[in-house]
Symmetry: C2
Subunit: 436 residues, 2 copies
Amino acid sequence: MSAVKVGLLGLGTVGGGTATVLLRNAEEIQRKLGRAIEISHVAGLGIAEQSIVDASKVKLTEDGFDVVNDPDVQIVIELIGGYTLAKDLVMKAIENGKHVVTANKALIATHGPEILKAANANGVNVAYEAAVAGGIPIIKALREGLAGNQIEWIAGIINGTGNFILTEMRDKGRDFDDVLKEAQALGYAEADPTFDVEGIDAAHKLTILASLAYGIELQFEKCYTEGISKITPDDVNYAQELGYSIKHLGITRKTDDGIELRVHPTLIPQKRLIANVDGVMNAVLVYGDAVGPTLYYGAGAGAEPTASAVVADIIDTVRTIDAPVEHKVPMLGFQTDSMADVPVMAIDDIETACYLRMTALDKPGVLAEISDVFAKHSISIEAVSQKEPAEGADKVHVVLLTQKVRESNMNAAIAEVENFDEIEGAVARIRVEQLG
Amino acid sequence: MSAVKVGLLGLGTVGGGTATVLLRNAEEIQRKLGRAIEISHVAGLGIAEQSIVDASKVKLTEDGFDVVNDPDVQIVIELIGGYTLAKDLVMKAIENGKHVVTANKALIATHGPEILKAANANGVNVAYEAAVAGGIPIIKALREGLAGNQIEWIAGIINGTGNFILTEMRDKGRDFDDVLKEAQALGYAEADPTFDVEGIDAAHKLTILASLAYGIELQFEKCYTEGISKITPDDVNYAQELGYSIKHLGITRKTDDGIELRVHPTLIPQKRLIANVDGVMNAVLVYGDAVGPTLYYGAGAGAEPTASAVVADIIDTVRTIDAPVEHKVPMLGFQTDSMADVPVMAIDDIETACYLRMTALDKPGVLAEISDVFAKHSISIEAVSQKEPAEGADKVHVVLLTQKVRESNMNAAIAEVENFDEIEGAVARIRVEQLG
């Protein structure tokens, strides 16, 4: 069979990696697919200076619309990122009847409903394995490998920058700002690190995972998102002493009241495999009703790991490029007429155990007063300990682990405790998950 | 679309689990697949007494050939295990133009070439995700999710019984025979545990993984297989002291000289994620040239975890049930006309680092003599230590870690050392892998 022609939007980190992998592994890919994949048109700024693609064989342009309007291009690979231009190019490609492969989590999480609707209407496929957890084939696992299961919950380390920072804080006792600067110097974190450290990037990915798990529409705006910038070295240490690691997790869970969708720092037992996923690596723990827990681990970012997922999507797309829709895996894993409208729960209605840390004056009776407040709000305390004076000899850290408590109750209790004269500043609260 | 009719061979642990999952998750599966899966014919001994399937709606028989010859059955699910009857039934099903889903690793590893050839000739599909690592979708990951990669190596904990035994030996200081008896009492190990503890079951699975990774024919007979029955609590302890865990691994690696295919106990650094996979759980670590290391973890056996993989295969098979072959993933991941004939290497030609333990008379000069032998065979010693008298005050354990050495050189050196008057009994040798 003749080669399939693909057009590449973007020749930066991931685009360059994709071109490199397609060229280096061309023979291996053809042995699997039975036909060749040819990069026929590439768009990117300053692209003429790049040596990855052979300018004598490939059309080069600085205008992405040249690629999506090229009648020879059968599959458009969108690797420029962002919402605006990327969206216009993807929508135009779909309108032109081209299949799309993208690594753009922000685009899928926020404009996914519109894009997938257009793709369905035009009979083309939008593949986005690289949008979640880089090279880990987690979308394929959820959508196909675990298709016989009802997914009960997912918990994932899906932002490498955040995991690198938390790992360094734990291993070296450094504080957040210090490690963030290093991560920026190493190129793990952007100049504006908000997307990574405040959990927005993870929320994009979690939104996608939840849709695939439960067959619900993409609802990024309903994802509760809390970052790691307030985690202190004290919290990391106290968690360790209690047998926990702090990880920045995306968690989605199906309950009788709806679907939980939340990104926040989380204490998890050190003995869980996912607690040992360190540095920039990603891992996703999926609990299915038949299979039980399964975990998927690998590089969540980087040129070639991300390219690995992009190329897998290209191969899948080529295999069924002219197949009727029933031969293809639905883009969100469920048939479009079978999507559920189970509500995404507000964070106030979610129940979790909590770790709390507060700075108190070292006076008799403080613990009793705190305990009274928790009792009043029906919050059971699992463990409490008073730590070495931190900020001064007259102050102590009080660390509490609670049993499961509804978020709104916990908020009320924390507000009351923060009003105590003996309590200084805010109460730090980190949710706890056993993941058992 | 009308329901797809499947016939089930076997209603034991996995067969019962498969029926249970298909029935319990019928609605969820239909939401994904767009059509229903109907169990229409079931074969098994004593099946009339089973309550899992509804005898008023499903044909029941004790003769599997009734199922494979039933013109209404479109997909045959083989879950009886073993080589003989299972093979006859599968071959007959293929001859009758039916697709096959099987969890039978022994069948695929040993009769796979004949079975897949017949399937190709008859235009039907044989799916076997459940044959390797139970519920972990590792075959899908290798064949599709990582299809853009050249796989460099795979290392897997792919036998839960063996991993349970090694975990108990490490955590509780118990010896092999003692833990094996418990594993048998718990139902983790068969009355005849040879397949599990001597590595035959793992070798079946590794044979399949190697074919998928490298596009080579299934060559179970060339897999080097060594069990865990000679591992002692001393070895487990010494390994721990050196920073290693002992795991029973299936390892396949592509080298310039051919493909390594070997199952044996292995020292691996404790800091690796896979070293923390304990109990009956399975995990497969795959290193691809683009993606780097990825790991897949989950239950490797049990009724519903295995059923999870079987049902995923049924869903995949249904999706492309009447599709032309180019829309389907090739059964071994590579096109049948693109298989490689890279040789599988003999164990004698493979290079690994080694852990050695020997019992020596506590006399001056023994270490020097041993060192001379190793030097003569060009074996570099990485670390050596002499351990507390074990069997008596006049004897010591000498523990060595070598650098990478060719197996045949190591064998020659060990034979010489075992001839020393000062060395008692056999030298224990466990290969070491960094998995970095």
